[in-house]
Amino acid sequence: MSNFLSYTLQSVPWGCTFALVAVGLVLTYRATGVFNFGFGAEAYAAGVIYTELFDHGVNRVWAAVIVVCVVAPVFGAVLEAGLFSRIPVGNTTAKMVTALGVMVVLPSIVQLFPGTGNLQAPFAPFFAPVIPIFQVGSFFINGIELTTVLATMVTLLLLMALLYSKRFGLPMRAAVESPKLLELTGVNSRSVLRSSWMVATMLAGLAGVLFAPVETPVTPTNYSIILVAAIAAAAVGALRSLPLAVVGGVALGMVQGVVQGYIPQTSVWYSALVPSLPFFCLLVLLLVHPGMRTLDQSSDPMMAVEPPPPTPALAQRPPHINRLIHRFRWILAATFALIVITFSPGPWIAALTIGGAYSVIFLSITLITGLAGQLSLAQAAFAGIGAATTAQLTINQHVPALVAAVAGAIVAGGGGWVASLPALRLRGLPVTLLTLCLALLADNLLFPTSWIGGGANGLTVPRPHIFGIDFSDVDSKSFLLLVLAVVLAVSGVVHVLLRGTTGRALAAVHASPVGAASSGVAVRRLTMFVFFLSAAIAGIGGALFAMSFLQESPSDFSWFWGPTFLVIVVTVGATTVEGAIEAGFGYALIAQALTYLPSTGSSSSNAVQSAVTVLVLSFGAFTYASHPEGIVEAAKRGIATTVLRAVPANPFERVGRKNS
């Protein structure tokens, strides 16, 4: 019993860390209407600035004050003014994509600065750091833990007072629902929302400063882990109740502490179950908590005042221009492919091959996000399942590589089908959180298991050997051709779905499931089908990706790649086949081009290159509100408009009209 109490009490400060971040998530959601996926990234940036200020001789209390009271609120105001104020209130997808953009881009920006790769944080700003301050039974509380507990309690009380005050809280809650309606009551909704963002980022700053000394070195991964654990805590109060979020955070910390205490550290359960506990909790809450199922279901009564979204380039162009583009596009693409394959040096052939694999994975995002309107963060995990299945079947069962890849796609598709079952009852943000959960569970439970993902070192994946052609050479042009053939085939499937009746039915389900069902669309079957197919396509992409490197590595399919891939595809264009292909090849080729930059060959140098690649392709996520079709598509529309102004109408069509 004393052991149980000791494990429980010891975990309270850790639980308070979850609670503090959970409170920040709830406040951001209630005061801005945005589920801030970027909260962990903001906390990471705050942790880095806090550490850097301390390293440059600033007292740790002053460093904390500067970060929390100056840097964080200014950053919050910049976020609101530059990004979130441009998104219409009813556009929850744009809000999520932009928040995911912050989550992906902000750590990449921070990592561009030298020396941010391995920062050792100073101690917590208040109290003596590791010396016991007081004792509860056999348990000692030190300065770091006391600071966290007190900060959580004080923050909770202050935020509740703020949110329920008539002067500040009332306009804050009203602004989330409809800023324009609030304006009509005489309140400046922009300044209300800006203040909300400033308070929310102050909380992220506080979490960053308090968490920095707990988990060193200061890395984005550590902050991301605490973010996703905090989502589970915030879900206890359905992202609406501050006290329940604190209760959830502390309870989660305590349960983790007790499980950690009783399970031997050498056990496989210890490494698998303990980190996965928050994700299990979140999964259960998403399925059973009625409040989580009704998230994002309110709509702005003033939505009609917003101008309509721009028409896509394809719809704007006259048919004869479309026909010309379609004919020349294939000729140009074939000529380009021929030249590239004939003259490219080995590393570029390898980059193109990887680009092809990425394209296939990204096409799965076109299907699930561009077509079905669901923001899935699990596509990288499905790719990983496809890769792991291919590796296991080829190495242990000696199944031919191509057959194994197809089997991998089916297994990944099965994973997608399983994900679709709870998704049938959910829409919008809950589905995104559900896919995040699945990605995290795959990352923590499946990939580290030796008989599934091969453990930390991964597995060897052989390339196919068919009709006497050996594809196993690393710089093999024949394997590139095989990958291109798969890209072409998958593109064809997605294109048919986009343009056909299935695409129209999915668009109807996306717009209104009830309306689609009343029009005779089999909503359940269609949802399950699109989840299955997109996961299967991701599985094929994962198998090709692993074959490109002749190695399946769990880190290649880490959960963080899910949001990154999504942001990249959305940036380039999630609603068209060519958008996914351009994103896939663009991502691989930019990464290859960056290898020519001066490099020290160190891991930090590689991290900078990786960060630049992500940055180049992810910035467009911030323009999602004005260009939901992607920036490449938006550019095409701009060019089409300019060309249409300059070029006269099709003379043949005029003749046809006159004759008729």
């Binding site: 009332l170 009203a174 629902e177 009509l184 009551t185 003033m302």
Partner: protein, 235 residues
């Protein structure tokens, strides 16, 4: 004194132009019915007057001042209250909180008095002051919205189809609340598709057609214009 003055106003949403040269003047204390079939620009006109929709051409003066560059909340603080089409309430806030938002800039003692008066005017609904607005029926929500607007004691009240989608009894209650405005100095513009209830409430009617003013005169003459416009509509 002119409360609202529109001169050759063009406005719309993106590429769609809803108003194509509206000129209109509303004097203090007027009660104007803004009539016309769906899509002729009635809602856009009142949105232009409250600053929600910017003009692409022309001039809009409210209470003697050009509103170009003026924010929606600044106009609301000058006494322009716009009851938008639909509910016009914050569903996640209580009845009391919705009323308080309208009275936010009023000194505390006056605010308490006006809140009590508004709750009393709501009748049985007033006793459910802590009920969230989204839990009320459509008619009840509309009644709370109108009562809140009246509690703000506006100089210019723009009511966009206040009885839209309501039962006859609920519509009567809403119009009874609007009748109370006529006893004050408030200038009233009511948007409706048909003459119906506004005939008794308003002394002047403006009929819009294809984004322009087709008739501006006594309400008694509006019905013929409306009928003529309906008959001229293509099949």
């Amino acid at each position: 004194m002119s409360v609202l003055e529109l001169t050759d106003v063009h406005a719309g949403y993106g590429p769609y132009k809803a108003l194509t040269g509206v000129t209109l003047s509303v004097q203090s204390g007027d009660a104007v019915a803004l009539l016309g079939s769906n899509g002729v620009g009635k809602s856009t006109l009142v949105r232009v007057a409250s600053g929600l929709v910017p003009t692409s051409q022309g001039q809009v003066c409210v209470l003697g001042r050009d509103i170009r560059g003026e924010s929606v909340h600044a106009l609301a603080r000058r006494g322009v209250v716009h009851l938008p089409e639909g509910v016009g309430l914050f569903g996640d806030l209580s009845i009391e909180e919705n009323l308080l938002l309208r009275l936010r800039r009023v000194p505390a003692p006056t605010r308490r008095r006006r809140l009590a008066e508004a709750l009393e005017a709501l009748g049985p609904l007033g006793s459910r002051r802590r009920t969230k607005a989204r839990l009320l029926s459509g008619g009840q929500q509309r009644l709370v919205a109108v009562t809140g607007a009246l509690a703000a004691q506006p100089t210019l009240l723009l009511a966009d189809e206040p009885a839209l989608g309501l039962s006859p009894a609920a519509a009567d209650e809403v119009y009874a609340a609007l009748e109370r405005v006529r006893s004050t100095d408030t200038t009233l513009i009511i948007v409706e598709t048909r003459l119906g209830r506004v005939e008794n409430l308003c002394d002047r009617a403006v009929v819009l057609s294809s984004g322009r003013v087709a008739y501006d005169g006594p309400t008694s003459g509006a019905q013929d214009v409306l009928t003529g416009l309906i008959q001229r509509q293509p099949e």
